[in-house]
């Protein structure tokens, strides 16, 4: 049944992807200024603009460009950057692992912090620990990641003349250094994500702990651990998984400031530069990746529901 459900969802995802690509293809072209005007900058004589636009194939009708791009994308060819002439797919292949690894570490850190702390806060509702944890969660939600990153970079330099690793260390060159350089951004991203997850975990668990079957579990004389973790948490965690599923694409596509501050050659930075330069193939390629990730993650989350809650059947 699950397989059929997933297959059906995948089929439904195709029109979603097509609509998303059409939007992604259209929107950058609606912003004033195109790649050619930006390339020619302050000396954009009309004749030069037309000549270069023709050379880059940007003078053809919009729908022709779209269909051609779509056809190539379906064959795994996302084209070349208009500026650097580097293949978009090759760039993504280099950058995606960096961003994905960062997203993974951030997610792990978020979960490691959020779930135990959320459970503790729920199990000890209105205790000192609960108030402290809730206050910290509000703080985590309130503190912008870029501000925290700035402090963590600037203060050690001023106080001790030291700053975290500059530039990207490849795993092959220095495995420890590679992981070490990702710890700081992963903590920054993870703390922000953990705050929201923790609050949701606490709230959902409190709701579940008030259910009749939990009261029955207590009445049977089960240990607190068994009641809270086995009977409570498992049923409370579905919304948490949903939230996690929505946060992952954000980490993939929207962490330009953190990547820039730490000097990571990730996908977010790539996309930001491309938007500034109206580098259409890159914008399209990265967004196709992000949209695809959202589709896949949502599917995975749906599948996970059935694992977490036996009552859910597809």
């Amino acid at each position: 049944m699950l397989r059929r459900y997933l297959a059906r969802r995948l089929l439904v995802a195709i029109p979603s992807l097509l609509i998303a690509t059409a939007i992604v293809f259209t929107l950058p072209r609606l912003i004033p200024g195109d790649a050619v005007q930006l390339m020619l900058a302050e000396t954009s004589y009309a004749k030069d603009i037309d000549e270069l636009r023709a050379k880059l194939g940007l003078d053809r009708p919009f729908h022709v460009q779209y269909v051609e791009w779509l056809g190539r994308a379906a064959r795994g060819d996302l084209g070349e950057s208009l500026w650097t002439r580097r293949p978009v797919l090759a760039e993504l292949a280099q950058r995606l692992p960096v961003t994905a690894e960062l997203a993974l570490y951030a997610t792990v850190i978020a979960l490691v912090i959020a779930v135990p702390v959320g459970v503790l806060a729920a199990a000890r509702q209105d205790s000192v620990a609960d108030y402290v944890v809730r206050s910290l969660a509000i703080l985590g939600l309130s503190v912008p990641g870029f501000w925290l990153a700035t402090l963590l970079i600037v203060l050690p330099a001023i106080w001790w003349g030291w700053r975290p690793v500059t530039g990207f260390v490849e795993f092959r060159a220095d495995p420890l250094g590679h992981v070490g350089q990702l710890v700081l951004p992963a903590v920054i991203l993870g703390v922000a994500a953990a705050a929201a997850l923790m609050r949701l975990t606490r709230g959902m668990l409190l709701e579940v702990l008030r259910q009749d079957y939990v009261r029955t579990a207590w009445a049977k004389g089960l240990a607190e651990r068994a009641v809270v973790i086995k009977h409570g948490l498992r049923n409370a965690v579905i919304p948490v998984v949903t939230l996690l599923g929505t946060q992952l694409p954000q980490i993939l596509g929207g962490r330009r400031i953190i990547e820039t501050k730490i000097g990571l050659p990730g996908v977010s930075r790539f996309l930001f530069d491309a938007i500034n330069q109206r580098d259409y193939p890159v914008i399209q390629g990265v967004n196709l990746l992000v949209v695809s990730t959202i589709v896949v993650v949502n599917l995975a989350v749906d599948a996970l529901y059935a694992v977490l809650d036996p009552r859910i059947r597809y």
């Binding site: 912003i31 004033p32 200024g33 195109d34 050619v36 005007q37 930006l38 390339m39 020619l40 900058a41 302050e42 000396t43 954009s44 004589y45 030069d48 000549e51 270069l52 050379k55 500026w83 650097t84 002439r85 580097r86 760039e91 700035t150 970079i153 600037v154 050690p156 330099a157 001023i158 003349g161 030291w162 700053r163 500059t166 530039g167 990207f168 400031i257 990547e259 820039t260 501050k261 730490i262 000097g263 990571l264 050659p265 990730g266 930075r269 790539f270 530069d273 938007i275 500034n276 330069q277 109206r278």
Partner: protein, 548 residues
Amino acid sequence: MSASDASLTRRRWLGLAAGAAGAALAPPARAQVPRLEGLPKRGGTLALRGVDPLHFDGMLTSSFKTHALLAFTHSRLVRHRAGPSVVPGTFPIEGDLAESWTQPTETTYVFKLRRGVRWQPKPPVGGRELTAEDVRYSVERFLTVPGNVLASTLRLVERVEAPDRYTVRFTLKEPFAWFLDMLAAPTAVAIVAKECVDKFGDLKKLDACVGSGPWMVESYKPNQSFTLVRNPNYFVPGLPYIDRIEATVDDDAASRMSSFIAGKWDLGYDGGLVFRTEWAQIRDALRQRRPTLRTADVLANIMSHVSMRADQPPFNDVRVRRAMSLAVDRQAIMDATSEGTGALNPPIPAGLKEWSLPIAQLGDGARYYKRDLVEARRLLAAAGHPNGLPASVCFTTYGSAILVDQAQLILAQLKEAGIDARLDQKEYGAYFSTCFVGKFDSLAFGPQPNFLEPDGFLTQYQPGEPRNQSHVDDPVATDLILRQRRTLDVMKRRELIHAVQRHLAAQQYYVAIHSGLSVAVWDSALKNYGPNLGYDLGGRLTAAWLDR
């Protein structure tokens, strides 16, 4: 050497060029002779902050991000002299690939190339000899390749020829006094190899980055770093002294400051400079952490201004433009955003010391540089706007808090004079393709390209030029600009440039604010290095060495 010494060199050279048409002009011998800093030492690695090049084809972009890198890897015919003896803001010219040159007529230049110059030992060129044909090819490509935004700098070149293996002859359409300056600029014709263009189609890819400059690109990792290594074929024996340059890409201001404090880089992180406002933030930490750093103040040639639609009401009325200028308190903006340091700019920025006219010498126009709200309101009333007027200011932040502060101050100051301007903020790309090239309704505000000679700044007053943001069509200004461009005699040209500045000051087509001071800063282990404006850090490091 003092500023006057340096400018004398330039004056003497240009004066000779004008006065002795046809006579051979021997440029100064390669002037980066070490002095007062001990004996040169070979070797070492210099660390600096780099920026991602857009790509590696300097003829397909005007971006400093590409040209700053090519200044390390490519040669030009002539170049700006570098070293501790050169006063920042002056740009004496010396031969690079050219050993000497003559000017037989007002419109002909003949360059004799150094013999035995070899390309870097990289495929597909493989270290063959660089000849006049390579120079001819490069100039031809510079002038004709579609998408070269800089081709207009040499638009007066009628033809370029290579009559023999070591001679290049340029024929101009008319006298062009700035011709050598255009060839020497770091954004000028980098000499490229035809084999690379033939093989790669253009020079955008890293593999196509083969020059004859002092260093070669060993590796480049986008958003991360690039490494340059010494070119063993470099045509000046013994140079460069520094074996290796490692540049880290860092696009974040806080991160850059931290890296510099932590001693990651040997040079100020903006091409050897640090903006004064940032310097103020890190100065104390640096005193503690890096007490041996060497510093020098350098007046920037970056100038921000308010441009106005001078081709349509109300800004086609000189009284309104003057009122705009009188409403703006330049000194207050400088105090608030540049710690009170810097200089007010006439039409040619004060940073170009040899050509800029001090405000006090602008004649009648000088009074429009000092705030006078009463007079501003009187002029507005006389122009038919007794209750002031509305306006919009097209703007983008460039990611700079200073620029945002300046824009806000200008808006507030204009409002006090009755000009109710609202900010029309655009995303960078939208701004660049519209307002930056004069496509806006009433006003725009932002920084302008930082040329190293005055002619570039004057193009913003010429009809038909995309850089003419205010849509200026002023026959007097046009005549003076064209005449200075055709006047080879330096003294006479300077008089014309002063005259056009006086005229433009009275017309106020642009309300220029100050240029800030930057701090040139470098590690004391770096010897025989002299800071200057412009992107030619490669040129300034060629004869420098490390003494650690």
